[in-house]
Each structure stands twice: as C-alpha cells, then as structure tokens.
C-alpha cells in the first residue's frame, strides 16, 4: 500500500527507489550491498511489532542515509515511538530485521546498540536528579574516555548552552534545560545516529528555537538525526525529509513541501478534509 515512488523527486529519492526495487531479491544487509545502498546508515526490513493482538508496527521498510536529518511524523498511535524503541532495542521485534552501519543489530541488547553508535533521547525528560548538570555529562562521557574529563564536559556543556548551570542539580533545571542536557548527554557519546523523541514538547517558542538550532548543529557535525515531532513548524525548520507513519505503516515519505501539500497526509494527520 506504500506509494513512495510517487514522491520521488530528489536524488535521495532516486536512491530509495533503487533500494526499494532491489528489496525483493536482496537478502544481504545494507552494508554488504554495493552501489546505491552504501550511504544507508540505518535500514529496517519487514519490521513488525505486535503487543498482544495489537500490531503497532506493520512490516515497515525504513531507510535513512548517513548525514540526513529525518523527521518522523504521524497521528497519535501511528507507531512513531514504537519504531524508535525497536531501533534502540528497548522493545524486542516480533518480525523483521534492523541493520545499522551494515550490521544486523536485531539481536543486540540496548547498551550494545548504543556502543555501536546509536544515541537516543526519549520523550519524557529523564536526567539524573541527584547529580549536577556537569556530573550528568560526566556519567555519559566516563564510560568511553579515561583521564581528566573536565575539558570534554565543559565543551559539551557549552554546546548545549548550559555552561552557567554546570553546578546546578539537574532537578533544578527548567524543562527546556533538561531537554538540552539530555541531548547533550546523548551527543557526548559521539553517536553516528541520534534519535530524538519529541524534543520540543511542552517548550516555549524561544526554547524550541534553541533546540532547533542545536539539532541543526549536531547534523552539521555529521550526526544523522531522526526526530519525532508533532509541531509541523518545527519540522519545517529542521527537516531534510519527512516520513509520515500511520497505523504502523509508512504512509508517505518526501520533502516537507510535498508532505505539507499532500491532501492524503492533511487528511490523516492535520485533520483537514
């Protein structure tokens, strides 16, 4: 039922169509393939997740190229967060495979996926309340680095604009600051793919602007981003491409203009006839 080919206009789309065309015959993971797939950093094949009788994710073939900033949108219950949690290993897959950087990561545990380069910031802010802002960053950094961490901590704090709050307990930070701290912690691990689940939910316009800027900067530094977001204006500001999920399936994929002007998308997502 997917109609990806309809929206193929850009070069990236040409790549995707190519991979789609080869999908039925290719059994090897993305990294073993040649040509069009070499830029693919993450790919799912026939990804399915059932919770009891409910199929939350229904045979999704999803792929994202290295260096992309992709937004994932869709109405409530479309399966966006579930898809993210399947990618991070928070949920076990019912069926299908996930390839990251050319390797099949379907059976890996969450911490192993993080170590292979996937970073995540979940929807609910979850900083470590009893630790200060800089100690939160320390916790993220200390696993992979030895020696004095103070410089790395300072540069991470500077990046997310929390240098002045370095000694403040994380519980005393504002909601927006906590979101940025969490993004900082995820980014401190130098992931090649960073997943952000509704990073601006409940934030002021000003705070949204800061997060948008931060997301773009991280992307400019070469980190591939997948961002789940409801706010279409925010999506407009940051996204290269947009994937629309509906009822556990990929409904559309394309540039933000294409998605915005698609009457079907407006119908299911924006609530317009």
């Amino acid at each position: 039922m997917t109609s990806d080919t309809e929206t193929s206009t850009s070069e990236a789309d040409a790549n995707r169509s190519g991979s789609k065309a080869g999908r039925n015959v290719r059994k090897t993971p993305a990294g073993n393939a040649t040509g069009v797939d070499t830029d693919t950093i993450l790919q799912t094949e026939g990804l399915t997740k059932q919770f009891g009788g409910l199929t939350a994710i229904d045979g999704i073939d999803f792929a994202i190229d290295e260096g992309e900033l992709r937004c994932l949108i869709g109405p409530n219950g479309a399966g966006k967060s579930t898809l993210l949690k399947l990618i991070t290993g928070h949920h076990d897959v019912t069926e299908g495979d996930i390839y990251f950087d050319g390797a099949d990561i379907t059976a890996l545990s969450p911490h192993e996926r993080v170590r292979s380069g996937i970073g995540i910031k979940y929807q609910a802010p979850a900083v470590f309340d009893s630790l200060s802002t800089s100690e939160n960053i320390r916790l993220a950094l200390q696993r992979t680095r030895s020696g004095d961490l103070s410089e790395a901590i300072a540069s991470t704090l500077g990046r997310v604009g929390l240098s002045e709050q370095r000694d403040v307990p994380a519980s005393d930070l504002s909601h927006g600051q906590q979101q940025r701290l969490e993004i900082g912690m995820a980014a401190a691990l130098s992931p090649s793919l960073l997943l952000l689940d509704e990073p601006v939910a409940g934030l002021s316009l000003e705070e949204r602007e800061e997060i948008a800027k931060l997301a773009r900067e991280l992307n400019d530094d070469g980190i591939t981003l997948i961002v789940i977001e409801h706010d279409i204006d925010f999506v407009d500001r940051i996204a290269d491409r947009v994937t629309v999920l509906n009822q556990g399936e990929i409904f559309r994929e394309g540039s933000i203009e294409e998605i915005r002007s698609d009457p079907e998308v407006r119908k299911i997502y924006l609530g317009e006839a």
Binding site: H111, F128, E135, R143
Partner: protein, 368 residues
Amino acid sequence: MSEHSLIDRFRGRFEGPNTIGNSRGFWVGFAVALAVAFAYPIFVSNYQAGNLALFLIYAILALSLSVVWGYSGVLSFGQVVFFGFAGYTFGIVTLNIQSTVGIMMAIPIAVGVATLVAFTLGYFMFYGKVTGVFVAIITLVSTIVLQTFMAQTAGSEWAIGKAQLGGFNGMPGIPNIALGVGETSVAFSGKLFYWLCLVLLVLSYFGLRALTNGRFGYAMVGVREDEDRVEMLGYDIRKVKLTVFTVGGAIAGLAGVLYAAWGNYIDPTVFSLTFATFPVIWVTVGGRESLLGAVLATVSLEWFRQQLAITGSEYALVVVGLLLLVVVLVLPDGIVPYVHEKAVSAYREYNDEVDRSVGSSTEEEIPE
C-alpha cells in the same frame, strides 16, 4: 604545602556527590569519633568491648546492603544469606583444620564462598531480567529456604568432615580469629577482637566511599535513578548490578566470618526472617544513600535494642518497628542525611554571620 596537597589527594578519592561529609570539618569530626572508638576498650571491660564488637560486625553487614540497595537500587533481603554462608563455611573449615593456619585459610575461603553465592544468585536474577520487587522476593525466599534447610541438619549424617551442621542446635566450637606465622600467633578475643572489627569496618567504609565516588559509583547511582536512561548511555546495567551485588556479598561474607568467630557459634537463626529484615531496618533508619548513616544507625539501634532487652522489656522489637515506621513516614531519606543537611546549613549561616560581623570576604571552606 606538600602536606596539604597530600591530604587533598587522599580526600579526593573519598569525596564526591555520592557521599555525605566532603569538608574539612567532617574529617576532623570523623577523626575524633574514630579516636574515641579506638580508645573505648581501654576504659571498659573485655565483655563490654566484645559486646560493642558485635554491633560493629552488624555495621559491616549494613554497609553491604547500603551499597547494594542505597546506591544501586537493588533491594536485597539476602545479605544475611551471604553472611550465614560465610559464617558456616568459616566454622566448617576451622573445625576440620584446627590450627592457626586453618583459621587463616578459612577466612578467605569463607568470604570467597559468600562472594560466589552472591555472584551466582545475582547472575541468575540480573541476567534473567528479574527486577524491582521480585529481587526482594527472591532474596527473601533464599533466606527462608536456607533457614528451613539448615534447621533440619540436626542428624549425625549432616556433617562435613569433622564439622556437624547441627540443625537448630547450631555449630559450636568455632575458634576465634587468629593470625600468626609458625609458632607465634595472636588470637583475637575481647578488646583485641573489637579493634580488629573496628579496623575492618573502617576499611570497608573507606573502600566503599572510594567505590561510590569513583567512575563506577556514578554508574551505580545512574542505575538506581533510571535504569533505561543509563542503559541508553551504553552501560550494561546487568553487569553493574551483578558487580555491586557480588561486592555486597563479599562484604556481608566478611561480617559473617567475624560473627561466627565472635560467638564461637553459628545457627540457622542467621537465615531467619527477623534477622533478614534487620539490615533493611538499619539502612532505612540511617539513610539508604549514606554509608555513614548505615553504620551509625546500626550501632545505635542495636545498642538501643539491647538496652531494652536487658531491662526486661519484651517490646524491643516492637519499639524498633515503631521507630522504623516513624522514620519512613517523617524522614524517608533517613536520619543521618537529615541531620547532616541541618548541620551544613547551620554552619553556612554561622559563617555568613561571621563574615558580616568581621566585614571581610575571606573564603571559608563550605562543607557540602
């Protein structure tokens, strides 16, 4: 100058946000308290010193739970399992090899057995994805199973070498701890044993302070605060929990060895439900997230309980239970962190006042 930096280096290892007492004032007070504790046996009888030694042993047991529960969020009723395993093992080895060498061998063997038991139990729980309240249930059941099992070992067929397990009658004749080379050896009893326990308690305390304030300590606190989150930073939470649980088992085992040597005896009551809940009570009253709190609460509570028992009251346990209830309701973080916080803020206020009256801005060290 160099003396200062040496002290700072020493302090640096043991200080951090994960323990209370990170100021010069704290360490001065600590040194004074320690000196008093060391001097105590000089002024009292062997009996009284031995009596307090038992509370110090319990304090080591409490430390083992503080690190597992307070710092890593794993509520374990099983500390007494490792405590009892080590005590019984110490008895079995020493009754079979009745010499100083046998005793010296028995100590690492007993602690090793406790560590192994903790590792095995922990491995199946944490790698079997057992979490939260189910860990508490499994550890609690382990103590009950062991108590039931040990209670039925009264028959003469229940012997390991020369050591009769003895069922409910327990295992008597366990020797004191003794250390020595060749002909010369020192047996630890009375005051000497008290000092041994105090030294081991202080060493355990410092070891755990270094652990909790080090890199691994951050990982432990991370696991306690939010398992999913810390996993998303790339930590293997199963490994963190298993490591802490095993370390806790080893420390509880050390306490168990001292306990068996203290009374020259061990019986299945060490696995009883009542005894299994004691560490949880001590640590709750003192403050789960405070190593010092665990030690202070254990010694005070046990002293208090004994006073009640001596004066003929049968309500000792009821009173302790009530105290637990009050603490949980009024000071859920425990007494020691509360007192510490009050002391620190009072100290700050005092300093501010001094600063104002002197009219200077001399930088004072502020305890955290």
